[in-house]
């Protein structure tokens, strides 16, 4: 897969930690190095889905990309509680 630029990789990891902190992505992703091709694809899909969910929750256009509206949303002050308690869907806990 094409290597990411250092800056892009850092921004990506910043967004990723934001998504993990607020429950959009599962914490503790495996190292990219030993991912299989299929896993990398699924990995990307998860990330894109997480971005879309965040955009929908935040009431901004859902694009799946880290566009300007999303970048602004990521900078806005907020509550420290996760938006989504990971595992709700699996164990069907009442939302």
């Amino acid at each position: 897969a094409p290597l990411r630029s250092r800056y892009e990789h850092r921004a990506h990891s910043h967004v990723r930690s934001y998504l993990e902190t607020f429950g959009y992505l599962r914490k503790g992703h495996p190292e990219v190095g030993n991912l299989q091709i299929g896993d990398v694809q699924a990995h990307e899909d998860d990330f894109k889905i997480a971005i879309k969910t965040l955009q929908e929750f935040g009431g901004i256009p859902v694009t799946g990309e880290i566009d300007e509206a999303t970048a602004n949303l990521l900078k806005q002050k907020r509550c420290g509680r996760p938006d989504r308690e990971i595992g709700d869907e699996e164990n069907g806990r009442r939302r």
Partner: protein, 526 residues
């Protein structure tokens, strides 16, 4: 419906909260902070059955603390950055607690151009989590995750109200007056007075209250149906003093006997028939004719509260000429009097008027009251006419203010060294008397009221605090020269003046409802 009910909720609705003593905000005044936090909780209290009471203990249900960076939980703060605060869902231990980032710039009274974050807005949001609500994706909802500031006249948005009411139910408004109160006409009592000590028995005033304390549309007979489509029919009134009643339904036929209309059983009075309507019908009171066909009053087989609107036997004036000695002239009428003092003593309500007092416990008014005050507190002077103020001190002693003196009782015994002049408490020597005294539930401090000013009294020192007196306008809506004030078991404050009272909102520092409520119905169970 976009609110998110998380799952856990409190099993009880009378929640306690406290500001953690060792984790106070470093840049804010703790007193003002507590006031803002209390207002934030009040947002949820006004929308649900929940009630919040501040206590001075870290065992409260909701413990609020201000901390920086890592602070003994899995969610460290990020300095003056993204995260403002977080809170835990209901539960034991730290369940319900709310943590605020002390590095943030908190504002107690934010203005539009202020840089900083409204503590009230964030606290109201975090207390939503403490009550069991998760984030909502509705923009404008209080539980929206991102900080949105807050309007000065903030009202809880619909989405959040639905969420909290789904968990704890809507607020129950007290039905203050279920039975509309009708002014009744009472002819002047025909009493022949002799000497002042004993007067001859007076016939109880003859009430012309046709509704027997009931709504005019309330049917007295129990013919099950059809419920008549029109409200109860009033006879033509030709009584000059009485204003005419609203117009009656023109198409109603006049039945002068029940034979024509067998189902009608509440034929209480001779209806005017065409031949009689020429001359004005004599104004006759309506005597309810007992309807023998149906069980007139299904007797509830459980103790009923006299204040509720249960069917009661109608009042037969001729049957109640019981011989009853007229009470001595200054004995107050329980259901029609103002109060000199009101106090909660050992969990029971004591109401004082003239030389008498009532005692109201969990079962309601004790029989045999009003009773002479000196029967209970014999240490009072023989010739006193009334007490000015009474309150139970935090050390359970009973303080009774009489004119310029304070009488302190340990239950019924006058304490040695009393009575004391008010000046020894630090009150001005020119002060004639106090109007009221209480221990305020909001901060457990003692307050004295007189005329248009009030003092805060330090129980430890035994003197009023230096920068007092202050103007009574601080207690918005109450006015000057009150009769009494006390804190009821619900922790709320009640001010009395004349024959009515106000319930006081300690957080907003104003009366809950501008109009006074009648004391007799609410406190005496009249």
């Amino acid at each position: 419906k976009r609110f998110a009910v998380q799952g856990e909720k409190w099993k009880h609705t009378n929640l306690t909260w406290s500001l953690k003593s060792d984790r106070r905000p470093s840049q804010l005044d703790p007193y003002a902070t507590r006031s803002v936090l209390a207002r934030a909780l009040d947002v949820w209290e006004q929308a649900s059955r929940l009630t919040f009471r501040e206590i001075n203990s870290d065992d409260a249900d909701i413990v609020v603390s201000f901390a920086k960076r890592y602070h003994d939980d899995a969610y460290p703060f990020d300095g003056r950055g993204l995260i403002l605060a977080h809170a835990f869902f209901p539960g034991t231990g730290r369940g319900g607690d709310a943590h605020f980032d002390d590095d943030e710039l908190w504002l107690l009274h934010p203005k539009d151009d202020d840089e900083g974050t409204s503590l009230f807005a964030v606290a109201a949001h975090e207390f939503g989590h403490s009550l069991g609500l998760s984030h909502s994706s509705v923009k404008g909802a209080l539980m929206f995750p991102w900080y949105q500031g807050i309007q000065p006249n903030f009202v809880l948005p619909e989405d959040d109200r639905n969420g909290i009411q789904q968990m704890y139910g809507p607020k129950v408004r007290k039905p203050w007056a279920k039975i509309p109160y009708y002014p009744v006409e009472t002819p002047p009592p025909t009493t022949t007075t002799t000497t002042t000590t004993t007067t001859t028995t007076t016939r109880r005033p003859f009430y012309w209250n046709h509704h027997h304390n009931r709504h005019p549309n309330h049917r007295t007979d129990y013919t099950p149906f059809p419920r008549n489509r029109y409200p109860t029919y009033y006879p033509e009134r030709t009584n000059p003093e009485r204003p005419a009643r609203p117009p009656y339904y023109p198409d109603r036929r006049h039945y002068n006997t029940t034979e024509e209309h067998p189902r009608r059983t509440n034929n209480h009075y001779p209806r005017p028939t065409p031949e009689t309507t020429t001359q004005p019908t004599t104004y006759r009171p309506r005597y309810p004719q007992v309807n023998t066909e149906y069980p007139r009053y299904p007797r509830p087989n459980y103790p009923t509260d006299p204040r509720h609107d249960y069917p009661r036997r109608p009042y037969y004036p001729e049957k109640t000429t019981t011989v009853r000695p007229t009470p001595p002239p200054d004995k107050p009428d329980t259901c029609n009097t103002s109060y000199d003092a009101v106090a909660l003593i050992r969990g029971e309500l004591f109401i004082f008027k003239n030389r008498y007092h009532w005692r109201i416990g969990a079962q309601g008014r004790y029989p045999g009251y009003p009773m002479d005050i000196s029967r209970m507190w014999s240490g009072l002077p023989r010739n006193f006419t009334h007490v000015d103020a009474v309150y139970e001190r935090p050390d359970k002693k009973i303080a009774i203010f009489l004119g310029r003196e304070l009488y302190l009782f340990d239950i019924q015994n006058l304490m040695p060294g009393y009575p004391k002049p008010l000046s020894q408490l630090g009150l001005p020597a020119s002060l004639e008397k106090l109007d009221a005294a209480m221990v305020w539930g909001y901060n457990s401090k003692t307050y004295f009221y007189s005329g248009s000013v009030y003092w805060k009294y330090d129980e430890e020192e035994g003197r009023v605090e230096p920068d007092y007196p202050r103007d009574m306008s601080m207690w918005k809506g109450v006015g000057y020269n009150i009769d009494s004030v006390f804190r009821w078991k619900d922790g709320k404050t009640y001010f009395f003046k004349g024959k009515g009272f106000w319930k006081f909102n300690d957080l907003q520092m104003r009366v809950e409802h501008d109009k006074q409520l009648p004391s007799a119905q609410f406190w005496m169970g009249c």
